[in-house]
Amino acid sequence: MSGFNKVVGSYEEAMAGLEDGMTIIAGGFGICGIPENLIKEIKKKGTKELTVVSNNCGIDGFGLGILLFDRQIKKMVSSYVGENKTFEEQLLAGELEVELTPQGTLAEKMRAGGAGIPAFYTATGYGTQVGEGKEVKEFNGRKYILEESITGDFAIVKAWKADTYGNLVFRHTAQNFNPMAATAGKITVVEVEEIVEPGELDPAHIHTPGIYVDRLILGTFEKRIEQRTVRQA
């Protein structure tokens, strides 16, 4: 590595330094735009007691779901976990902790975390279980709860293209939580489908500037589809 070149040569190197008990922020929505190979590397490393912040927890056998089988995850912070039987079993058995967090609040927690904002007020969740125990404040006659932002020891991100400086472009709705996750990791690791030279990406079309990115690796992706819905041609 030299200068602004963020490219690393192996997945071992990409996830070096990940230890038991750390917090990982992961991009992806369902299994769309997930850092699938970085997740596989975490499985390979066998790191335990992880707190994982991700909108979903993959599906059985793919994405973050593969970390459940070896009980590597201690706690999930997610908005929706309905597509994963292992998850539900471990949760009902009390083996897995989950902090259900509204999707917009989750996105904002990551965004704020990455932007140095420690907490924010939101109407989302006021008067519900999500708001229990949280500070309530009234602004202009409406009640809001105080939500604390999130940062992680690691952020794992999937982008489409990058230049070697770590400037990122996402593809279609595979963008989802990835840009916020990228800002919120002490060490942000990104895997991409294509790496180009600096100058090849239009500076005005960069979704995530390279300043947020620490390590970059070129991967090949399976890209499974959760709900394949089609119409007749």
């Binding site: 309905g82 009902l92 999707q103 519900t128 279609h172 709705t173």
Partner: protein
């Protein structure tokens, strides 16, 4: 006769206006897209980060990177935009979406909604529902009037964990169209052939019934 799922969607669709940005939840709300009145343009928002959701792709167009909030493969409509989840929820939480349609387990006379969790039974999570109900002014809940076991879903007080408080003003069920105000349900329309008596019998929460309750027309 109680409304079919499609008729329910059709009735909800009449609440749309030309130029509306609309977020449709999973299930019956999704069907509303099929009944946008002719000559009207609406743009569908999908909370994973798509404004201008198009139809499902053809087999050749299927793209794993192009999905909606229900994780279904979709296409982008002409004039669509794609963005991050934070941007998406800024639209929702900032009140920029004109109409939100979502399902529920229960709704009560205070406009409270329970739609995401049955304790001990079903662990799924709220997804974007809490953000949607907190952020939108114009929300329509679609659901069956009573459960499979005949228990009313329109209550004086929700019994399940809440998704939002005091946020629901309109409910369309398979039996009736109701508004919520002043701590009561107000019967506005009934499904064709459904009697006011049946609606009253299946509404556990306080229900105001005007003299004349028109039938929905299809």
């Amino acid at each position: 006769m109680a409304l079919s799922r499609d008729q329910l969607a059709q009735r909800v669709a009449r609440e749309m206006k030309d130029g509306y940005y609309v977020n449709l939840g999973i299930g019956i709300p999704t069907l509303v897209a099929n009944y946008v009145p002719a000559g009207m343009e609406v743009m569908l928002q999908s909370e994973n980060g798509l404004l201008g959701m198009g139809p499902f792709p053809t087999e050749d167009e299927v793209d794993a990177d192009m999905i909606n909030a229900g994780k279904q493969t979709v296409t982008a409509a002409t004039g669509a935009s794609i963005f991050s989840s934070a941007e998406s929820f800024a639209m929702i939480r900032g009140g920029h979406v004109d109409l939100t349609v979502l399902g529920a387990f229960e709704v009560d006379v205070q406009g409270n909604i329970a739609s995401y969790m049955i304790p001990g039974k079903l662990i799924k999570g709220m997804g974007g529902a809490m953000d949607l109900v907190a952020g939108a002014d114009n929300i329509i809940v679609t659901m069956t009037h009573a459960s499979k076991h005949g228990e009313s879903k329109l209550l004086n007080k929700c019994s399940l964990p809440l998704t939002g408080v005091g946020c629901i003003k309109k409910v369309v069920t398979d039996l009736a169209f109701m508004e919520i105000k002043d701590g009561k349900f107000w019967l506005i329309e009934r499904a064709p052939g459904v009697s006011v008596e049946e609606i009253v019998a299946k509404t556990a929460g306080e229900l105001m019934v005007p003299k004349d309750v028109p039938e929905m027309q299809f």
